[in-house]
């Protein structure tokens, strides 16, 4: 069995231009070295029923043996305020915040506020003990003072959590005040104990929120849950006084006892946390926790943090947040100027003669130079979608997966690895250990399902289109979602035709606008996928290859965000589906997502629209009386997996020519939730013709046009019977006409 995980890595940047340098960050827990070869990817799907793996070895100076080392990933988010005199220049103090714990009592301590070093066993920390009880600990010179509440905190209930030390009296206290104390939720308590009368504070120790310092370099005891309005005050306050201090959105910076008062509602799109006190104890966030989260005072008067920022003073920290593996680069390579744009990968091999040979890949993309097309055709690498699905554990964690997929789960070596190695960071389909949704995905980590031999969904399926282009001798450039987002229309405009692949699902406003302008400006768009242009995302403003999404109250979603938390922190835009943002995909593509079907895929049947004599260029060489695509690698049909349909009330253009439909998808055809407003039986594909895949064409302004197939399975039918089939013929006919400069 091929070992695909003995060595892992990531390329940075994920997307490069020819002439630029790329670094490969590699790690292996078991291998000292591997044979590395740079390859160009034609087909990344090893399935022998299709083209199989097709990789072209490239001449590259780094080909050969590479030494490997083991590099550790350290997940867990927190806020870090660098040490400074203001953090030691007091004795008595009070620390507190509103907190909303999500994993209290999971057999480990969770620190909320701290200036503590595990290795020195020195400092103070406020948080939860392993049983979920609120605790306050002071320790120095081998002596420890601790006070804790008698009851554990409740999961997902707001409390004021505080601790104070009175150096004059030597009293310490832990304070909890339940914000909703009725119906069994009451956890309010003040517990006092004996403490020291003086404390030597640890040196070179940051103030940490949602964790504490393990040693000089690392952090531990990560807190799962939300923290809102943390405060630090150089006097022992009562619980009521602390409550007033935390409740205040504006503090008195002139108060000489005010050490720090952090306002997480400021700088939400960034990794900065801002202190409103005169000490300016600003901090930075590690591993990208979720911002723009509803605070203890959120009252539902707005669901936009941009409208009511004071209600969004919380950050949701997770012990498994992971945005940056922080691995050192192992290899660097400057892409030769004459390399074509394309899907590429670093192949790593070891133990080639053994029963379990290692063959692992690190994928990257070489983009076509902006404004310097080398072809009339561009194929879009759906890098936003690849990121959204990066390291998906959906089939491992979500018990509906086998029922949804209508058959036994087939796991790969990569899946087995992810099951045991959650430190890789999961996808936006997954939930954190505390059950909350994963909002952010980055490329600074190994991504196992975006590479040759990886799970075929998305990346692997899209390489079938590349394989077909190579097979048919069609030249093409590769452009990426990330670049369309960053540079907009100029990325698309040089091309006579742009193809989007099997599943261009995650789209920022900038990407949408670029396609809209391209199509209206006479561009030709072939959308050869399903469930495309579906979710609204944002890219981080400064961190490359980093996306954010919020799953709201509509759409086919594997988790549902908390009420009030559907606005993107990176930009302040609403997230959720584009349909709920007033831009149903039908308006741009002619078709939009309506259903998924995993029992089997189906052929399309031609409709009268295809029989117009003016469409001879489209149907040339195709028998319209025969099924279209009654074959394919995904369910033995070209219409399946996730499918889209025409809907004029959702914006399918009046000029849409409805060419073909697959509207007998059987009982496995399952409509997406937003297609079902009221409930009644009989909504599955065996009884419901709205569950279907449609093929459409419509001309756009200035001689442009859009051709859509509305099915993820489409591109995986192209290679059937040595590429001689009606799916291949139709795709080729449309491409030929779309590359012709004559207006449509």
């Amino acid at each position: 069995m091929t070992d695909t995980t003995a060595v892992l890595g990531y390329a940075w940047p994920l997307i490069v231009s020819a002439g630029e340098t790329i670094a490969f960050h590699l790690s292996s827990a078991t291998l000292d070295s591997a044979e590395v070869t740079l390859v160009r990817v034609r087909c990344g799907d090893p399935d022998p029923n299709g083209p199989g793996l097709r990789l072209r070895e490239m001449e590259a100076s780094i080909n050969g043996h590479a030494a490997l080392a083991h590099q550790v990933i350290r997940p867990g988010s927190c806020a870090i305020v660098p040490d400074g005199p203001a953090l030691s220049d007091f004795q008595s103090f009070t620390a507190g915040a509103f907190v909303w714990p999500t994993l209290p009592g999971d057999d480990r301590a969770q620190t909320v506020l701290s200036r503590w070093r595990d290795d020195l066993q020195c400092g103070w920390r406020l948080g939860l003990d392993s049983r979920g009880h609120a605790e306050f600990v002071l320790s120095a010179a081998g002596e420890t003072w601790r006070v804790a509440t008698l009851q554990p905190l409740l999961s997902r209930e707001w409390v004021l959590l505080g601790a104070s030390w009175n150096a004059r009296s030597g009293a310490i206290s832990i304070m909890v005040k339940s914000l909703d104390p009725q119906s069994g939720r009451e956890r309010s308590a003040v517990v006092e104990g004996h403490g020291p009368t003086s404390m030597p504070w640890p040196r070179e120790t940051p103030l940490v929120m949602a964790a504490h310092a393990k040693d000089e370099a690392y952090y531990a005891a990560f807190f799962d849950g939300k923290i809102d309005r943390p405060r630090l005050y150089a006097e022992a306050l009562t619980r009521d006084a602390l409550h007033r201090l935390c409740e205040a959105h504006t503090v008195a910076p002139g108060d000489p006892h005010l050490i720090g008062a952090w306002n997480f509602a400021l700088d939400i799109p960034t990794e900065s946390v801002t202190d409103m006190s005169a000490n300016r104890l600003h901090g930075t966030l590690r591993q990208m926790p979720a911002r723009a989260m509803t605070g203890a005072n959120w009252d539902g008067s707005s669901d936009r943090w941009t409208d009511r920022p004071t209600h969004y003073g919380a950050i949701h920290f997770h012990s498994d947040d992971m945005a940056d593996a922080e691995w050192k680069p192992s290899l660097e390579f400057t892409i030769p100027a004459d390399w074509r744009s394309g899907f590429y990968a670093l192949r790593l091999r070891a133990r080639t003669e053994s029963a379990d040979p290692v063959e692992s890949f690190v994928a990257f993309f070489v983009r076509a130079d902006l404004g310097k097309p080398k072809s009339r055709l561009a194929f879009v690498a759906s890098t936003a979608t690849f990121l959204a699905y990066a390291n998906s554990a959906l089939r491992l964690d979500q018990v509906h997966a086998e029922a949804m997929l209508e058959g036994l789960l087939t796991l790969s070596q990569d899946d087995l690895y992810i099951q045991e190695h959650r430190e890789l960071g999961l996808s936006t389909y997954d939930t954190h250990a505390d059950g909350s949704g994963w909002c952010i995905s980055t490329a600074k980590r190994p991504i196992l399902n975006t590479r040759p031999r990886g799970a075929v969904f998305n990346y692997g399926n899209d390489t079938h289109l590349i394989d077909w282009l190579e097979q048919t001798g069609q030249d093409y450039d590769i452009i990426t979602d990330d670049d369309i987002h960053r540079h907009g229309l100029p990325v698309l405009r040089p091309y006579g035709c742009v193809i989007t692949g099997s599943h261009p699902e995650y789209i920022s406003r900038e990407i949408w606008d670029a396609f809209d302008a391209y199509q209206q400006g006479g561009g030709r768009h072939m959308y050869l996928g399903g469930n495309g242009f579906y979710w609204r995302i944002a890219y981080h403003r400064t961190q490359p290859h980093t996306i954010e999404m919020r799953r709201g109250m509509s759409g086919l979603r594997t988790w549902e965000g908390e009420a009030g938390e559907t606005t993107l922190a990176f930009t302040g835009e609403p997230s959720s589906t584009w349909r709920s943002n007033g831009r149903p995909p039908q308006r741009l593509l002619g078709v939009g997502f309506d259903a998924q079907v995993f029992t089997h895929s189906s052929p399309y049947r031609w409709l009268d629209g295809a029989k117009a004599p003016s469409l001879g260029w489209l149907t040339d060489g195709i028998d319209l009386d025969k099924p279209l695509g009654d074959f394919g690698l995904r369910g033995n049909g070209a219409a399946g997996v996730e499918v889209d349909r025409v809907e004029f009330t959702l914006g399918s253009p009046p000029g849409t020519i409805w060419l073909a439909t697959a509207d007998n998808l059987g009982y496995g055809g399952t409509p997406t939730p937003e297609e079902v407003r009221t409930l009644h039986r009989g909504i599955m594909g065996d009884q419901n013709a709205q569950v279907r895949a449609d093929i459409t064409f419509f001309p756009t302004a200035n001689g442009g046009g859009v051709f859509s197939t509305g099915s993820i399975a489409w591109v995986c039918a192209l290679s059937h019977t040595n590429y001689q089939n009606n799916v291949s013929q139709l795709t080729g006919n449309v491409l030929k006409r779309f590359l012709d400069k004559e207006p449509l």
Partner: protein
């Protein structure tokens, strides 16, 4: 928030319905009649957590060979792969797991003439 309720799969299995066993044996990959769909949904939604983890397949050779395995419900716990349980078709694997689940649900003993896959 992720909400999973495998225990909600409560369709009542009639453990004498060997006709459903026969229907599945003939067409492990479907399409299936209404009642067999419900039986399969009961099995697939509930999983096999009470008996040691969901039955899954692990790809040994892409498109050619699969191993039987158990996926534990607990995140991070390793998948238990049965290296000596190799299938060369997904239909064979579905039939094998169906039999295991049928027996776990207290189904009537499958007669000898129904035990082997159809050729």
């Amino acid at each position: 928030m992720l909400v999973n309720y495998p225990e909600a799969a409560h369709w009542q299995v009639d453990t004498t319905r060997l006709d459903l066993v026969e229907e599945f044996r003939r067409k492990p990959r479907g399409p299936h009649g209404d009642e067999l769909q419900k039986l399969l949904h009961r099995m697939r939604w509930a999983g096999d957590f009470e008996t040691g983890g969901r039955y899954v397949l692990v790809v040994k050779t892409p498109g050619r060979e699969w191993l039987l395995a158990r996926l534990p419900r607990q995140r991070g716990a390793p998948v238990k792969v049965m290296h000596n349980r190799v299938f060369t078709s997904l239909a064979d694997a579905e039939w094998e797991v169906f039999k295991l689940r049928w027996e776990a649900l207290g189904g009537a003993s499958i007669p000898e003439h129904l035990r082997e896959p159809l050729v």
